[in-house]
């Protein structure tokens, strides 16, 4: 069943159900606003939010004094305050910033000073020996490092899902498969979409990779240009996760944080991302030579990776712009807020961005008498999983131990999955080492009549 059309007047319309849009919808719903969320893809988290490195950053290396830094700090704090009530995991593994060359080693004190400026004061310096003790599998050439204890691993899809779920449970409405085609101002905004018009007092553009184009539709101009930056990743099978203890960060360069090696919330090991500028906003192409190079870099950082299998490959697009800062702006007299250029820190900063946008909006609503807080089902390796509890109906995805109960839940409820990609992000189904060799047939049956584009058609 497609989502209901959005009828009546909304206080706030959020365009885009990525991590930032989901967090903003949550904040306004909890503040008592009547919220609409308009998403062009068949399901949520389908743009920039679908491929990231799943780290909750402290902001230690953000530009000091920037809005980005402030949002990361606030988002980080709020995540730690709310994650238990929403059933979201945190793995407090900490990060090591590792110098591999003399030049990088010389850059470490500057980075530490920057971290101090950013309010991160619990940095520990590790010499070669201490580094080897902290990470015994690290390559020979690692020279020195510092530890940032507050860098954590989180579940990159369950978090925004939980934000939007809480928004919906507190009255927000979501319409997926609705692309914004135009807008006009009456007393309110009338947003024209491929699934009909939506009336809203305030419009918040959280359209990610399409942020500048949406601005043009509403305010007739763009103050920034999205320059999609591709990041390719290689994911290793679960046994490789035991090779590292921390998030292993390189010394960052001007354009990227560089190639990271870290565990994932799902018990795998991740190597990536690359940083490749491109014009295409939709397609993030995997390039075998680049993936080989990532593997090679991963094996330099952790040589034992040579003996491990690759489980998955993916590529994401970050909505970078010509500016080294978020482009967040309330347009005077227009009841319109642009939240653009959330380049690579969106997962960490989303809740903080939402706080900031709420302040910019400066609107008062009657807050809900009893705000709803409900827990999402944990799919990470850091908390008990459904397969450990009786009555799960059997395992469907054997590699990731996804149960029939988890799948049926993800296909129903207030935010049902409407595509295989959406079901994967909610449950991890097919994301393991066999990549759907064993579970495709059963998934075809379970998902029939649930997806806009079915996995298969019946043969007469």
């Amino acid at each position: 069943m497609p989502d209901q059309p959005l009828t009546g007047r909304f206080d706030v319309a959020v365009i885009g159900a990525g991590v930032v849009g989901c967090a903003i919808a949550r904040r306004f719903a909890l503040a008592g606003a009547r919220v609409a969320v308009i998403e062009k893809a068949p399901d949520i988290l389908d743009g920039a939010s679908k491929g990231n490195s799943a780290i909750l950053h402290t902001g230690f290396d953000a530009p000091p004094g920037s809005l980005e830094h402030a949002c990361i700090r606030a988002g980080y704090q709020e995540y730690l305050e709310i994650h238990e009530r929403l059933g979201l995991p945190v793995n407090r593994c900490g990060a090591l910033v590792i110098a591999w060359t003399e030049e990088e080693e010389a850059a470490l004190p500057g980075l530490i000073e920057k971290a101090h400026k950013n309010g991160i004061t619990d940095i520990e310096v590790l010499d070669r020996q201490a580094l080897r003790k902290a990470e015994p599998e690290l390559g020979e050439n690692a020279r020195a490092a510092f530890r940032v204890p507050g860098e954590y691993l989180i579940d990159p899809w369950s978090a925004p899902f939980a934000y939007l779920l809480q928004a919906v449970e507190n009255g927000a409405q979501l319409m997926r498969g609705a692309e914004v085609t135009g807008a006009r101002r009456e007393d309110d905004w009338i947003i024209e979409t491929t699934r009909g018009e939506v009336r809203a007092g305030l419009v918040i553009n959280a359209a990610g990779l399409f942020g500048d184009l949406v601005d043009e539709k509403f305010i007739g101009r763009r103050d920034f240009h999205i320059k999609p930056r591709k990041g390719q990743f290689v994911v290793y099978d679960k046994p490789a996760a035991a090779l590292v203890n921390h998030i292993l960060l390189p010394v960052p360069t001007a354009i990227t944080k560089g190639v990271v090696v870290c565990r994932t919330a799902f018990g795998n090991l991740l190597v990536g991302p690359t940083a490749e500028d491109q014009d295409d906003r939709l397609h993030a192409e995997l390039v075998p030579e680049t993936l080989e190079a990532l593997k090679k870099r991963g094996e330099e950082i952790v040589p034992a990776l040579k003996r491990h299998d690759v489980t998955a490959i993916y590529a994401g697009l970050r909505p970078a712009t010509e500016f080294k800062e978020y482009c967040i702006k309330a347009h005077e007299g227009l009841s319109y807020i642009t939240v653009g250029g959330i380049r690579s820190t969106g997962l960490s900063a989303a809740l903080g961005i939402a706080q900031h946008v709420e302040k910019l909006a400066a609107l008062e609503f009657p807050p809900p008498a009893h705000p709803v807080w409900s827990s999402v089902r944990n799919i990470s390796e850091f908390l008990p999983r459904d397969w450990q509890k009786p009555g799960h109906g059997g395992i469907v995805c054997h590699c990731e131990l996804v149960t029939r109960r988890e799948i049926m839940d993800a296909l129903s409820g207030p935010l049902p999955a409407r595509s295989l990609a959406g079901l994967k992000r909610r449950t991890r189904v097919t994301m393991g080492r066999c990549q759907a060799f064993f579970c495709s047939a059963e998934l075809c049956r379970l998902t029939r009549d649930h997806f806009d584009q079915p996995m298969s058609e019946i043969v007469e």
Partner: protein
């Protein structure tokens, strides 16, 4: 179903190897077969084509009938089944942790046989470029959809690979009214032997050899692929990709267990009795050697089952000598150790590149057997198992 907490022999995997072993063992022992699927039979359950069953039933059967017949024969022999049960961990003892609708429990046994088979390697493992649209499936997944669900995920796919299973993919397509538009392989010749390689020609499917699948295109669904071969780059309009073959041992349980693993096969390292590094664990079937026919696995399972029976009755000699490989052209050899008990009655090998040469087995440096080979990767090679004990080595002169 209430799972027992203790059995004589626990068999993990109800495919041809597991069922054959269980059937032999049920004569004298209390045998439980667990399988994560809802039905016994393993991969043949969704191979809706011939030929299965020649060795086992002396007639030519389709996969699903063969799977049912194997399961019925095991049941008649007194084997008990626990289906829809996933083993999640192996422990010394031996004992295993399982999960099912009942929750998590532990089953102890005197011996455990692991027979979890193989899967094809995925698009990700092969680092194939392009976007990630829907409609990229393995042959196994396609067969499951076609034969178990009567569904088709696409209508005119490209098939990647020319192994036996790739030709099985063509048969599966024909069954579901799917018309493959191309068959692509980076090899110079088809991996499968004559006459399989005639099959695409009969079906009118263009065969592109020495050709790489460079890129998959499309966002929601596959729209096209780019191939690169002797005639240069070419775009093929298509709505799916069947990523076939390159079998990998389904050895997840081994990887996270205390059992030693052979990086060559990806499966457990075993001796000629089928024993793992922990001798209370045995393994048989395709997880030892990706990949062989169902009949091969069945016959191997039977012989390993009989070895387990002898082990339980009177014990097997503990001694074992490693088999060493003296050539970088050999991808793997199974078993990895020779012992006096020879349930695995031949040395099985594969090459990792085309090879023309003389293969020999030496025991303590003395040649005991040899043969000429002219072969390619993924083709079966065997050598006689040496009956004398000593340091066994395998040599290749090209």
């Amino acid at each position: 179903m209430i799972l027992p907490s203790e059995v004589d022999v626990l068999v993990i995997g109800a495919g041809p190897a597991g069922l054959a072993a269980a059937t032999e063992l049920a004569r004298d022992f209390n045998v439980l077969v667990v399988d994560r699927e809802k039905a016994a039979g393993g991969i043949p359950r969704h191979c809706g084509h011939y030929p299965f069953g020649m060795r086992e039933f002396h007639r030519v059967m389709k996969g699903p009938d063969y799977a049912r017949a194997l399961a019925a024969r095991a049941e008649a022999a007194g084997v008990r089944f626990a289906l829809g049960v996933n083993v999640v961990a192996l422990h010394p003892g031996p004992s295993v942790t399982v999960t099912s609708d009942e929750g998590v429990t532990t089953i102890s046994a005197r011996r455990v046989l692991i027979a979890t088979g193989v899967r094809e390697s995925s698009r990700a493992q092969r680092l194939i470029g392009g976007t990630k649209p829907g409609g990229v499936v393995s042959t196994g997944a396609l067969q499951g959809m076609v034969y178990l669900e009567h569904a088709r995920p696409f209508r005119r796919p490209v098939i990647l690979g020319t192994e036996l299973v790739s030709f099985s993919a063509i048969m599966t397509c024909a069954h579901a009214g799917i018309r493959p538009v191309a068959m692509v392989d980076s090899r110079r010749a088809t991996a499968a032997r004559w006459p399989s390689c005639l099959y695409p020609r009969i079906k009118g499917i263009p065969l592109y050899l020495s050709t790489k699948l460079v890129s998959i295109e499309g966002r929601e669904r596959v729209e096209s692929v780019i191939i690169d071969g002797p005639k240069g780059r070419k775009r093929i309009e298509t709505d799916g990709v069947i990523v076939s073959g390159h079998f990998r041992s389904e050895s997840t349980l081994i990887v996270t267990s205390h059992l030693a693993r052979d990086p060559g096969t990806g499966g457990p390292a075993v001796d000629s009795a089928g024993r793992c590094s922990d001798p209370t664990y045995y393994a048989a079937g395709n997880m030892l050697h990706p990949v062989e026919t169902a009949g091969w696995c069945w016959s191997e399972g039977r012989r390993v089952g009989l070895a387990i029976a002898r082990d339980l009755k009177s014990g097997l000699p503990a001694e074992r000598a490693p088999v060493t490989v003296e050539s970088d052209a050999l991808a793997w050899v199974v078993p990895q150790f020779v012992s006096p008990e020879q349930a695995l009655d031949r040395l099985q090998l594969r090459v990792n590149r085309p090879v023309n040469g003389r293969l020999s087995v030496r025991v303590d440096g003395r040649e005991v057997a040899s043969r000429r080979i002219w072969t390619r990767p993924d083709r079966r090679i065997t050598l006689p198992m040496p009956s004398v004990t000593g340091q066994v080595s395998i040599h290749l002169e090209e």
